[in-house]
Each structure stands twice: as C-alpha cells, then as structure tokens.
Amino acid sequence: MRRIISLLLEHEPGALARVAGLFTARGYNIESLTVASTDDPSLARMTIVTNGSDAVIEQITKQLNKLIDVVKLRDLTEGGHLGRELMLVKVSAQTADQKDDIKRLVDIFRGRIIDVTESTYTLEMTGSTEKVNAFLDALAHVELVEVVRSGILGIGRGKHALKI
C-alpha cells in the first residue's frame, strides 16, 4: 500500500544521506522524497512516499525512528491528511491554436502560465498526485519539452501536528 511518511529530523549535514541510505540498504521503495528546512532552522521536514506490505511499512517506520537524527515521525496515511505536489511543465506553444488550447486547459485545471517565450509556455500546477497526473494526461496531444515534479508534501488534518 502507498504511504506518506512525514519526518522531522535534525538539520545536520548527512541526515538526508542517512535516510536515503537506509532505503537502498534495506531494499525499500521510495516513490518520492522531499526535504527542506522549517520555521525552526534546526529542523528539517521530510515527506517520503513509499509503498510496501504492512510488515514492510512497519519496518520502515521503525528503522527510520532508529536513526539518531530523526526527531519525530508520523505515517500520515494512518489518519486524515493532505498531500500536494507541485509540477512545472514546459510545453511547445507555437501556433495561436496551440496557445489557446493550452491556456484553456490551464484554466480548467486552475494552473498558471508562469513563463512565455516565442515557442514555449511554462506551466505551474499544484494539487494531489491524481490531479497532477490528470493534467499531464490532458496535455497528451501537446509536445512536452520538460516535466519537473516536486514529489508530495504531506500534512495531517486537524489539530494533530508533527511538531516538537
């Protein structure tokens, strides 16, 4: 099953390598991994999307918790949660028809055109993985120059927070 695991870890050099190394060493899957600092500069927040049987997920959370740099961990999938992904897509937009078509699709999906050149549009799309995928599907007839996805950022719903 697909899981979204959220971690707070010490903002130390090498902390990311410890997490990534754990996944390769023990043969766990990583679908996506994002990491950045938080409002507390001593902490980094990481969202890992992984998949595996319940037993594998249990081991993943235990092994992550065992890393000395991991301060706190939550499997967001266990409760209500929100997941959002950012995608940047550069598409070929040469003719007026193509430009209209892309503009219409971006409007429908509530995305934005963030850069325009003579021959390309760069689009920004935020949303659940499903929505981002659906947008890419809708662009099937358009020539994609480049696709960049952030992987999922996750947060739990309601009062519960992953904080120290």
Binding site: L9, E10, A17, G21, A25, K62, N65, K66, V71
Partner: protein
Amino acid sequence: MPLNLRGADIVVNCLKDEGVEYIFGYPGGAALHIYDALYWSDAVKHILVRHEQGAAHAADGYARATGKPGVVLVTSGPGVTNTITGIATAYMDSIPMVVITGQVPSGLIGDDAFQEVDTVGVTRPCVKHNFLIKDVTKIAETMKKAFYIASSGRPGPVVVDIPKDITSQTADYHYPEQIHMRSYQPRVQGNSRQIARGIDLLVGARRPVIYTGGGAVLSDAQDALIDLVDTLQYPSTSTLMGLGAIPASNPFFLGMLGMHGTYESNMAMYECDVMLAVGARFDDRVTGDLAKFSPGSKIVQIDIDPSSIGKNVAVSVPIVGDCNEILVEMNRQLKERVGEIDRENVDLWWKTVESWKAVDSLAYEESNTVIKPQFVVQKLFEVTRGEAYVTSDVGQHQMWAAQHYAFEKPRRWINSGGLGTMGFGLPAAMGVQLAFPEDIVVCITGDASIQMCLQELSTCLQYNLPVKVVNLNNQYMGMVRQWQEFFYDRRYSHSYMDALPDFVKLAESYGHIGMRIESPDAVEGALEEAFGMKDRLVFLDIITDQTENVYPMIAAGKGHNEMQFKPSDREGEVQERELA
C-alpha cells in the same frame, strides 16, 4: 576557569574524563596531533596494533568482556578503511565502540587529498551513528554524545571523524557530565501491562520454551534470567551470542539452538506453543526456513530495539525495553502467579524434550589415532576448569567451541556471530587479556582464520599478553570444505590451505612459544604445559582430523525439524541420516 586546550588535547581529555583505560590504534598523518597529545597522557594507555583491523577487533573484545565501550584511534584514508571490517563486526553484534578517526584538514575535504576518504560516508551503513567535527568548540560535546550513543539503548559503534586542523586549534575545555538529545531517547523500562500480557501467555503454556540471545548478555540480565528460568522451570535455549547468560550446567538449559545447535533445542523451538524470546533477533542461522519456523507457537519478545521485534517473525506480545529491567519486573509479577503454571502438561513436555536430549546430538566418534577437534575443546574446558575467556574466529572451530565449551558465565564467549569475521579471534583476545590480565584467555582458531590477523602476535609480545592460541589445524577452511562436501559434490574449490607456515617457528619468530601436537594422547599434557606458562603466549598448533564435520546441522533453507546428524558408517559409504 576552564582550560584552554588544543583540539587534540581536548580529545585525550575527553577519553580520560570518560574513564577510558585503553585505546587501540595506529598513528598516521591526520591523527598526529592526537598522537602528540597522547604522548603526554598517563591515564589513557594506547595499545599499538599492527593493522587497524586488529585495533577495532581488540577494542571490540575489550567491550564484549567488560561491557564498557572499546575505543579505537586511527588515521584517515586507509586507517579508516582498514577498520571497516572491525566496525561492521561490532555493529552486527551490537557492541559499544567509539572509533576516532583523523581526517585531512577541513580545507582539503572533497579535494581527493592524500589519504582522504569520505569516512562518514563509507562507515554510515555499519555504524550506529557517526560525526564529522567541523568546529573545535564542538569536540567535547560530540565525544560525550558518541560515548552515550555507543553504550545506551541497543549498543553499537560510533565514529567520530576529526579533521587535522581542528585538532590543532584551541578552545575552552569542558566535558559535559550528561547529554540530552531530543532525537535519541532509548526506552529502558518495559510497559508493565505488556509484561503482564506476556506472563499470561507464559503461565498458560503447555509446551513453553525460553530462547535467549546476545541482548541478554549485553544488558547483563544473567541474574534475572536465571531467576526466571528457575521459577518457570521451562526448557531454555540460547543463541550463539547468548551463551553463558544461562549457565550451561543449569538443569533447564538445553544448549545452543540454530544451524549447529542441539537437537533438543531446535525441536523444542519447533514444537513449542509459547516462546519467550529475550534479546534475540530471529536471525536466519537461528530460525532456518522462516516458513517452517515454530509453526504452532505464540511469541513473547523482549528487545530494546523496536525494529528487532516482528522483523522476521510475527510476535504476539512485544515488550520494548532493557532485557534486564524487564526480566526483573517480570520476575516480580511472576512470583504471585507461579501457581497458575500448568505443571502437569509442562512435565509431559519435559518428557518429550528428554527424549530428544537422549539422541545426544553433539556426540562424535572418538579416536586414538587422529585428534578430534571436539575432543580438544572438551580437554580445554577441563584444563581451564571452564573459567577461561574464549575468543574464536569463524568456521568449524567456532561451532565446536560453542558446542563443547560449557560456558557458565556471560561475557566469556567472545566471537563474531553476526558478521562472521575470520581474523577476529586473536586481536579480540588481546582486548580481553588487557581488561583481565590475571584471567585465562584462549583464542580457539583454525589454520585459515588465524592467518587473517596473524600480525597481532607482535602486539601480544609488546604488551606481554599471555593469550593461549589453540589452532585446530585441519589444513582446510573447514566450514567451506564441509559445505562443499555436502552441497557441491565434494568439489573442494579453493578451500585447501596449501603452503601453511610452520606455526611453531612462526610463533617463535614473534618471540612466543610454539607447540605442535599430533596425537590424541598428547593433547591434555600439552594444554597443561601451555596453561602452566602463565606469562607467555603459547601457540598450540593442533593437527586435527581433516574430514571431521560439524553436526548436527540444519542445512540452509531447512526447518528446525529437519536436522541432519552425523552419518553412521556403512561399508565406508557416507550416509546422511535425516530425523524428522
């Protein structure tokens, strides 16, 4: 006023304030400031090894025998890579160790400088944690963290990498008495409701077994464990790593389990209805084929590492915490509930267990002409009155030592169980002998293993370490040969040790005493003579039966109920008898 010291002196002061007696090391460029600081140190004694792998194993042996962290000091680059085997050995067996490594100066890191290696990177998969110190004012705090992490929770090796320039800068020295880490707070006390649930299962058992591992030794749980075993009076077995926590002479002890464990231990594991695992991690050499592992049992597992629980085998009642703390609490709760034990059924169970015991699965064919390795270990046990610290390398000799040296106390059996490191035995014995200079320290080894860290014979001379080396010499990598005999149609590919040295002359050239023993009736006398020389290292090269195999055995991929016994000779043909 705090002292203003050089980084190198801060390192040495930290070791002193941590109460470190010995460090094992080898100097080199990036570590020279620290070595300079050691020059003036009386409190911390440095043991100069002959190869950095030996330093790590010696510190490891010291740690296993004393329970205190072993300390290593090496230089950058090859100094570090040479210790990797030793660090990984300690990691697999959860041995507390602090490894201080010199690093090239900060400004050169990443430049492929002379003797540069990414120490934090190459050691990461085999350490509990590691640090690269980039600021001289952080040395003391980092050293404290290193010792705290290494020796608390599930112990393990911690590497502290210090660039050379950091060791020449100065800072005020203050060694923190305590350290708090928000990201690391190992759980010690067990949950008392979980303990009660575990007792529910234990007292209700009809066919119980107690299975203990290295965790029981590491947490010094022997007294509580003996108390528990004596109260429950249940069949009890131990992994290779746990030997000695329950005395071999305890009437409820069935001996070791696993691939070369006793028949009664493995069958009890297979047939039991309730299993209590104490500091044991269900390693593949213990469980055999997981699909066939203990099919009818409910398991209560005590472990300080939550990730060890339910990793390989599903567990009914997990109890996270220190083995000793939990067993003490378990004993306390159990005292009021002993009456609930189903003695009638447990007695019946014991009858079955006794019938397995009667198979005498460790029996071997005695001989008047060739020396049987098992016979040597038994004689060694007699001559040392079972009081020796026994280190070993890896292979057949290791298994015979575990099977036939009846350990009465924990921390006496010192071997590389998890990683299975040949070359461990001799340097580990040095660490043990330093910790216990008055005690008997024996390294049981083989002609292949001993050659992997042989150079440490020189260290033994320098520091007057009267280790006794018992070399079970069959001129083969015995365990490899055994597997080739069983599973590769006797194609003995590269397992024959051609061109062995004359070990007697070799020992003599290192300044020690060498003895060669070739007949069974000379074994006891030679051992007596060797152990009589209390202040000398004696290398006993004992020429043993080349064809002897370790029995009983569970072949890889088989279950506990599929043990293979010593074949009976029928017209010279080797029969493999399988009892189910």
